[in-house]
């Protein structure tokens, strides 16, 4: 009824301790206390604006690392 026939063992898996890295760019942009301020400014941009633009780098870095590590582990 609920159990489908499992004639095939899962050959692959997405599990990896590195996946926890994905939490970093999810959690940090949600803590407004970190960046809700004017000073210090960067190129004239208040902290509120340049910090959130900088978080893009966090997102790119964590997804890239998780992808690359996963690729090596699966050998593909």
């Amino acid at each position: 009824m609920t159990t489908p026939p499992s004639d095939q063992r899962p050959a692959r898996s997405d599990r990896s301790p590195w996946n926890w890295l994905l939490l970093v760019p999810i959690v940090i942009p949600l803590i407004t206390a970190v960046y809700n301020a004017d000073e210090p400014r960067l190129f004239g941009l208040p902290l509120f604006y340049w910090a959130q633009l900088a978080f893009i780098i966090l997102g790119v870095a964590s997804t890239t690392i998780v992808y690359q590590v996963g690729k090596r582990r699966n050998g593909r």
Binding site: L22, I26, F43, F48, T63, K71
Partner: protein, 535 residues
Amino acid sequence: MSEHLTEIVVFAVLFLLVSGMGFVAARWRRPDDLASLDEWGLGGRKFGTWITWFLVGGDLYTAYTFVAVPALLYGAGATGFFALPYTIITYPLIFLVVIRLWSVSHVHGLVTPADFVRARFGSPTLALLIAITGLVATMPYIALQLVGIEAVLKSMGVSGELPLIIAFAILAAYTYQSGLRAPALIAFVKDTLIYIVILVAVIYIPTRLGGMGSIFDAARAKFEATPAPGDGYLLNANNQLQYVTLALGSAMALFLYPHSVTGVLAARNRGVIKRNMSALPAYSLLLGLIALLGYMAIAAGVKPITAGGKADPNTVVPQLFDAMFPDWFTGVAYAAIGIGALVPAAIMSIAAANLFTRNIYKEYIRRDATNAQEAAVSKIASLVVKIGAVLVILLIDPQFSIDLQLIGGVIILQTLPSVGLGLYTRWLHRGGLIAGWTAGMAAGMLMLYNIANPATDHAHFGGSAFPLAKLGLDTKMTIYAGFLALAVNLVVALVGTLIARAAKLAEGADATRPSDYFADEGDPRVHDIQLTGSH
């Protein structure tokens, strides 16, 4: 009108060029025939990393975003900047989720999120609810793309509804002919234009306005001078929770939209999607910079176009370009926004048409529809959807369609337990999921109904920031209504599941197997199983 002649000529030439590409796209990577949803609706499911990047980028970052986000910053300040953290959070959040969706969809030949729910929970009723939710949430989104074009036309002094109708008729014609290949090909031009325009804008405009520092000082001065409590160039104590929950809620909702799923499923393999999760944030950078155009407009003293005594804030960015750039480049910028509306409108109408075909037509009207019949029905449905969108714009106040879009975000979020959680577990009972959906939808509507917006003179449906005081809490804090509605949905789904299990209600059959969620291109089982499930 003559003062805008150069702009109009440049705009028209670029627009026609792109429309030509839309028609030619049917021949691009031409398959033996286009008469199946895999070909017409998903471009052959063979798009590589670059095409997917342009396609999904062009799909998620729409003309409306480019016009409305800076307009929000222009009007309310920091709260409008939520669009940036929202698009940062979304990729790591769904990184592991969408690859499961890709795999299971390719093993079972699924085309829509409702198809997945049908296969996973064996419940045509739940699938129908998911399909209707997707349709209702997508329609106003398409209408809003027209608002983007309208803002540009207004700024060029082109009035009347005919140009808008012609633009959409051209779009409808080449989408009909070429399917998903058309927006995929046009997206190259659209995004190239947008990147050029925005880079020039953020480098050149500040030099005219005394640098970034003075732009922010002008914005600060404007918001300090206004009596409204919610605005400001930084967040205040009462709107931080709203900012955070809106960013997180929107991030969770983004890949539940049928058009996002269409873009993902058209990818060739899992690697293409994973690489795009790292590459798509390039658009977020663009979006963050575009948002700042709203403050540049404040510093430049730009005023929105007023028609019939009502200011249209969406014209702020076009007006800024008009004030700052030489005419020919303003024309290019307008074309970028106009073409920017075509790509998402095409993908959204295809996604909506696929939902109708797969989950209503095939499920309830014609069980034994062939691939060719499915494609034929989808093509016609895509036309109907676009006519509907045009009617929405012509018949009702655009402000109302913006409200509808707001409602769209809240309701699409209610499909998260079935689609998002369903990709991981089918512990939740289909009966519980239906009850949760109903409760979440009702709670969401009730909250939205009770949100007033004095700025736009709306007593109801005036925004997505629900005051916690209405729940009896002694605070001025607000929260994103969709977030609360989702919480209600989840609690009811949980309790409903326990009740359904206790009452021994029948579970639906699960047509998927655990290994299906990891399948990749080249696996023998990818593409060889058709949708099966209890009828």
